[in-house]
């Protein structure tokens, strides 16, 4: 495990002064003393990871020797944890620096919920509630982060304390979606479902009222909240054994029709696209 760590560090040290010094030799001196700052170091480690991963993928795809392939695969699998460790080391020395959020995002984004990721999550909770970008980061975790309490705590704190409107809005959206998952799941006890329903409604209505204009992809969070609230109202009926909500719309030729037009027949309803 030590070998890849040392290697990656060596490549970074060589790469930074070269890049900086090539065009302007006068800049070489300061940049060797101060290698590009924390943000630069983090960026360098991530780029280095990507490059190595690509190189290994190529080698694996052309390798014909099973033993070599197995070694390369092992090396590939060790690459991410090694990078995570290096990034975490940087963060531990400067946990409050806002530049470290990008490193922490790298560590948690795979959603493997492993040791590194858990440490990163704790660092986010302890030091980055007010950092720009933390709302989007936490929103990205709602479908695969298993430690509910930590994630929920981060979301609640960001929604109330982050100075950026964008981060607060995304935290509210995440709270709404997360609670909606519980409200819409099969086999949830009535009291738990009601609580989740109320929590989701409150968060989504807050978005509609206070943050309707915050952009989200090619739409706004106000519009997303409206859609999610429509789904939330149906959640209790989208269960096995319940009457399906009717669908009123038009077909691909523009002719109006309804799901209930087909009462008397078994309906196989498929949500699809060509992708």
């Amino acid at each position: 495990m030590m070998k890849p760590t040392l290697l990656a560090g060596a490549v970074l040290l060589i790469a930074v002064p070269w890049g900086a010094g090539f065009d302007d030799p006068k800049k070489l001196q300061p940049s060797t003393k101060e290698p590009a700052g924390l943000a630069g170091q983090i960026n360098g480690l991530q780029k280095d990871f990507q490059k190595k991963q690509e190189e290994l993928s190529k080698k694996i795809s052309v390798s014909k020797d099973p033993a070599e392939r197995s070694n390369l695969n092992k090396e590939y699998q060790e690459l991410r944890p090694a990078t995570e460790k290096q990034l975490l080391e940087l963060v531990r020395n400067n946990p409050k620096d806002t530049a470290t959020l990008k490193a922490l995002e790298f560590v948690v984004e795979q959603g493997d919920n492993g040791k590194n990721a858990k440490e990163a999550m704790k660092l986010i909770a302890d030091h980055h509630i007010r950092t720009a970008g933390v709302g989007a980061l936490a929103l990205g975790l709602i479908y695969n982060w298993r430690d509910e309490a930590t994630l929920k705590g981060i979301l609640r704190d960001v929604s109330m304390q982050n100075p950026n409107r964008d981060d607060r809005a995304k935290a509210f959206f995440a709270i709404g979606l997360k609670a909606k998952q519980v409200a819409a799941a099969e086999g949830v006890a009535e009291s738990e479902r009601n609580k989740a329903f109320a929590e989701s409604t409150e968060a989504l209505e807050t978005l509609e009222k206070k943050y309707p204009d915050v952009t989200y992809g090619d739409t706004t969070l106000g519009s997303r909240a409206k859609g999610q609230l429509a789904g939330l109202k149906n959640a209790a009926n989208l269960m096995v054994g319940k009457k399906a909500p009717d669908i009123v719309g038009e077909d691909l030729d523009g002719t109006a029709f309804m799901l209930s037009d087909y009462r008397g027949k078994v309906v196989y309803l498929t949500f699809w696209s060509h992708g």
Partner: protein, 109 residues
Amino acid sequence: MDMFPHERSLVKAFEGLPFVMLGVNSDDDPKLKEKNEKQQINWRSFKDRRGASPSITDEWNLEGWPALYLIDHKGIIRKKWLGGADEMAIPKEIIELVRAAQGDQKKER
């Protein structure tokens, strides 16, 4: 997962029975008609987007594909497959529901 061949064959297998396949299509694509012809899509679909109203996928809480619902002849949801579907299990479920629908048709006569 490409469900098209499976779904096409279901439409054919249950032709003439109290069964219908309906889709909710979320392509916003001017070439949708050509693509449907090429893929031989043989079922009727709702357009997912409905102007200012919430989309159907929003109303149905969709979080991913595939998403399939089996609804009986009385409008009750009997099965749903979200995020994954065992293609082999689906026809059996349909047969049972079609039989129940046929049973009720006979009673009405």
